[in-house]
Symmetry: C2
């Protein structure tokens, strides 16, 4: 027996296991001197309580799960960073899972975690998720769950942390129009993603307000770069009806747009102005620098984690903590300069 556990400590100190346990947890039932002896030996032997035994007994895992569609994405990376800025201070560990935008995986992962492995979870929905039974099951099992960014508005009593997507969609479109665009297209990823819908709503409202005669131009894209380039190519080749402004719901689509523009020798912003949601710092180095709507990703992570821990600690959530909307920023760069 070379593992150092309570039994080992107890034997070496001629104490009962329970005494050692209590001493280490600083119980008032244990004498000061004994506590010192225990602590000293524990320190010396590098004792670390077995987390599985603790978890089993106390029925809590000191672990939360973060489930995101992908991680190769500045937004989600920053969110994770934000979460990680909170979890360790609470003594919590962070499990990470990727759905790869696949509803089945999302459902399976949630199923997998319904057994006490985690005390709570934070989730940003895959864009193929259109039913929410897997969430409902959690709610009923009483496992705290928080949604962020890509949420589901119809489910009750699940806090959500989002950004002002519709507002920023409106402002992005408005920005393009004020810079002289007469025909703004909205590029968005196919699927059920709540953000694409909210951003599209803002887009539509802005068109409705400033160019009521225009028919909104919703361009559905996919997750495949080649396909997206094809779609964008077709859009921009159409001489007569070519848009002169593009509002991309996600960074990836702005990148695709840039790629096609280079290919077709269209210059931004003269021939086409582009703005996009993006958390990429290097967007400022693009040719030309990309006007961006930057989401407070780190804060989303922090807020989400903070709310989740409140729930885990059974604190009551204030009404305004059930739906938190954090403001994004519009950063104007050369891709939407006057031409």
């Amino acid at each position: 027996m070379d593992n150092v556990n309570l039994k080992r400590l107890a034997k070496e100190l001629n104490l009962a296991v329970s005494t050692v346990s209590r001493a280490l947890r600083d119980s008032h039932e244990i004498g000061k001197e004994t506590k010192e002896r225990v602590r000293a030996l524990a320190e010396q032997l590098g004792f670390q309580p077995n987390p599985h035994a603790s978890s089993l007994r106390q029925n809590k895992s000191k672990t939360i799960a973060v489930i995101v569609p992908e991680v190769e994405n500045n937004f989600f990376s920053q969110v994770i960073n934000g979460i990680e800025s909170v979890a360790p201070t609470k003594g919590y560990h962070v499990l990470i899972y990727l759905t790869h935008e696949d509803f089945k995986k999302e459902r399976d992962i949630l199923q997998l975690l319904r057994n006490g492995r985690v005390d709570g979870l934070m989730l940003s929905l895959s864009n193929t998720t259109s039913s929410f039974g897997h969430l409902e099951a959690y709610r009923q099992a009483g496992i705290p769950i928080v949604l962020f960014d890509r949420v589901c508005e119809t489910i009750e009593d699940v806090p959500m942390i989002i950004t002002d997507d519709a507002e920023m969609g409106y402002r992005a479109t408005e920005h393009l129009i004020k810079k002289g665009c007469n025909r703004v297209a909205y590029l968005y990823p196919a699927g059920e993603s709540s953000i694409a819908i909210r951003r599209g709503t803002g887009y539509q409202n802005a068109i409705g307000k400033y160019q009521p005669k225009q028919k909104p131009l919703f361009i559905e894209c996919s997750t495949n770069d080649a396909q997206n380039q094809q779609v964008i190519r077709k859009l921009l080749r159409n001489k007569k009806e070519r848009p002169d402004g593009i509002f991309a719901a996600i960074e990836k689509l702005a990148v695709n747009t840039y790629e096609v523009c280079h290919e077709l020798n269209l210059s931004i912003p003269q021939d086409l102005k582009v703005i996009s949601f993006s958390n990429l710092r290097a967007a400022a180095l693009f040719h030309p620098p990309l006007s961006s709507i930057v989401q407070p990703a780190y804060e989303i992570g922090r807020e989400s984690a903070t709310i989740l821990f409140k729930m885990i600690e059974k604190k009551l959530l204030l009404p305004n903590e059930k739906k938190i909307i954090l403001p994004s920023k519009l950063i104007e760069r050369a891709s939407t300069a006057d031409s």
Copy 2:
């Protein structure tokens, strides 16, 4: 008692707990019919074995840890993605920890995990890590550990997965020289990072070979953007001795270089050619597109995880699995075009 556990199943089926357990694990000792009954009820009640009880009993956690300096970095994101492509297929969960380039945090995290919470861990060292006792302790405790990218060459029997940094450092420098650079500077992050050293070695060798009269120009940078810009500004303002080529060890420093060039109205590649290690897809969209050395990040993650699981499964590692060197790619773009 509304939790569904073995006891509950056993009671409802009039069986012993052990029988139920064995039935679910498909033991040959259990009759076919009984197995069916058990499985049916388990399915119906949505039974999920308690992972803490299992872990406690079997002394394994079905969990690995990934410890990286940061996550807001395409390289590490891709590595995590690669790891995640393996772990679930082995039934494993992935804990993530960030050191934020802080040795103390790294040490504390490793300390925290020495209690059975994980069956193994994958680590990329912080750049402030210069002693390795915390790793040694793991090796002695017999917990499998794999190093990737930022490794430590002096520790024995810890497999490492790295890229051909010195070789690519050489080729990057060579590339700049062949494109006409007469004075190439090497920008690298301060600290102990093994990659910065290996890349620098390649740089030095190339200078030694092609421009033996030149003194290598090692420019030490930090993690602070403003400071780095200051350093680079100073470097580039020096009219007489201004370098005409920059090889950046990490993406961040290439970004800083671009920023300063914009500021000083230096044009790339005419006034200065730039090449950098970078896994940023959008590097192709920079102004001008950034010549990059792209590391096989996803594969590094996959390989590391594969090796780790071999160790966890107590399989013997082949000699060539103890140090795996994966090739990077040099992608030539406009930032190093002939001027």
